[in-house]
Symmetry: C2
Subunit: 306 residues, 2 copies
């Protein structure tokens, strides 16, 4: 089966089927910090904690936002953030993405002249900032997207979640982090983590834009809840299937039904619940051969939600 239809040209064609294109690098020394403290017995201990950094994103000459991020992929984060805020269009020609590590600033330059002063003002007046998004604009953007027919075999789903759960990650190293995975059939392609769930999604959106990867034959997996915002971002990426090990909100379900998105939550061990788009699911897996989650995975789940 050809997994590489619309993958970047500069990647080798002969990747083994199970190889991630991008996966977490839990041993990158910039991403965690060793700190000292005490445990429940009063004994001194040393432990790893995740590092969060302020990254300021510019679009051409305009300062757009300062995001708190682990900052492993500032370019992808900047591109994805601007895309998901509808400030960068799919048709835009990006002439450069310049990251200055010392200033912690990333500048996205486009051929088109951009001016989002008005939009920035509007954002303040209408957005649920606590949720991190401009709902009005995103809702508009939703109306122009039609998700394609697609298939999700339950055998892929179980293989996929098992691979993701056993991949070494920053979560396993230091906890307090979110994960998102772009997948195709039973193969995880890009696994991003970040302190903010939205950053992890935005980094994947930025990676897809940069490499001109389309979403129609992909599956999106998140450790976080299936909120309206997560549904909107998935639809905007053109991905017809969204899977989470966490739960649903009512508005997330409503939007998924409107957008014809397949929405699967509470996916743990052999269990899952689909509350929208169930017609894309092919129940080909014999459940007698799927294991329940082990205690190790249950613990792992504990800091994986939002």
């Amino acid at each position: 089966m050809d997994h590489t239809d619309d993958l970047p040209d500069d990647l080798p064609d002969d990747l083994p089927g199970d190889d991630y294109l991008i996966r977490p690098d839990p041993h990158d020394p910039r991403l965690t910090e060793r700190v000292t403290g005490v445990d429940q017995t009063g004994a001194a201990i040393e432990t790893s904690v995740t590092v969060e950094r302020a990254l300021t994103i510019f679009l051409n000459s305009q300062e757009i936002v300062t995001a708190m991020t682990i900052n492993d992929h500032p370019e992808y984060l900047a591109l994805g953030y601007l895309l998901n805020q509808n400030m960068l269009k799919a048709s835009d020609v990006v002439t450069g993405v310049d990251y200055d590590e010392e200033l912690s600033v990333v500048v996205v330059r486009t051929r088109r002249k951009t001016n989002y002063e008005k939009k920035l003002k509007k954002k303040v007046q209408t957005s649920g900032c606590a949720q991190g998004t401009v709902f009005g604009d995103l809702m508009e953007a939703l109306e122009n997207v039609t998700l394609p027919p697609a298939e999700l075999r339950t055998s892929w789903l179980y293989t996929l979640t098992q691979k993701i759960n056993t991949t070494p990650s920053l979560y396993l190293e230091a906890g307090a982090i979110h994960g998102c995975v772009l997948a195709q059939e039973d193969r995880p392609l890009v696994y991003m983590e970040d302190v903010g769930r939205h950053n992890a999604v935005d980094k994947i959106a930025g990676w897809m834009f940069k490499h001109a990867v389309t979403g129609g034959d992909k599956i999106f997996y998140t450790t976080g809840r299936l909120t309206s915002e997560m549904v909107i971002k998935t639809v905007r990426m053109g991905i017809p299937i969204l899977v989470s090990r966490s739960g649903f909100t009512a508005w997330g379900v409503e939007l998924a039904r409107k957008a014809n998105l397949t929405l699967i939550g509470r996916a743990r061990g052999k269990r899952f619940v689909a509350l929208a788009g169930a017609e894309r699911i092919v129940f080909d897996q014999d459940l007698a051969y799927v294991e329940e989650e082990s205690a190790k995975h249950r613990r792992k789940a504990a800091v994986h939600d939002d």
Copy 2:
């Protein structure tokens, strides 16, 4: 032991020691919705999902923000949000809080004339909206707070977390929700839940403001991660002790140390880790009598983090 020193005057003095002043009402029909779907076998199922609603907050004549919330306490949320954004001062006289259910608008009126047009502009340009906060302003506010000496007995901590974990909640009913608890010694006082972790914190801040409850002898418990933002909000509430079942970020630890906040994370069963302010902890509990978390609590934990 007197738990009611600075509790609202209009509350009875003879509350039993274990009674919450406010606790989740998982059977409130406005907070969850029944939806249909399919499970992993393809069988039709019906399940509960949490309802999120848009609530627009005004301060006097100015529209400030639209928050996504379960909307169980719009007045507390509005007060707490404005306080935590430093738009409402502790010294402000609030002349009214008017909630219009039909419009889903809440207006906070103050004797002082307010004008945050400039601040709203600044917010866009400097905040990490993905994290939901104006960091610059909050950092300034931190500098004027001195946390009092206080004591956290480990016996209180274990009793408290056990009570919280066994309290009926929206989480247990429908999942996909955050919880925060204001506590005193081993007694949980106010338990708020919301789809956004920051809403839950803000509702507690609003409750404290409304009832003139001070934080110096309180403990703050959250199901979410110990990020910089959670640390800043706790310090601003004047609460010297912050406890979470989830993990830490490096900046959260750094800020807690600067602010002299006692920061306890990964509190599950008998285990916990303190990474700041450990001198407030009194290790009075014999650990041989504390149980590890049951499998039930481990599962419960799974959708309790952020």
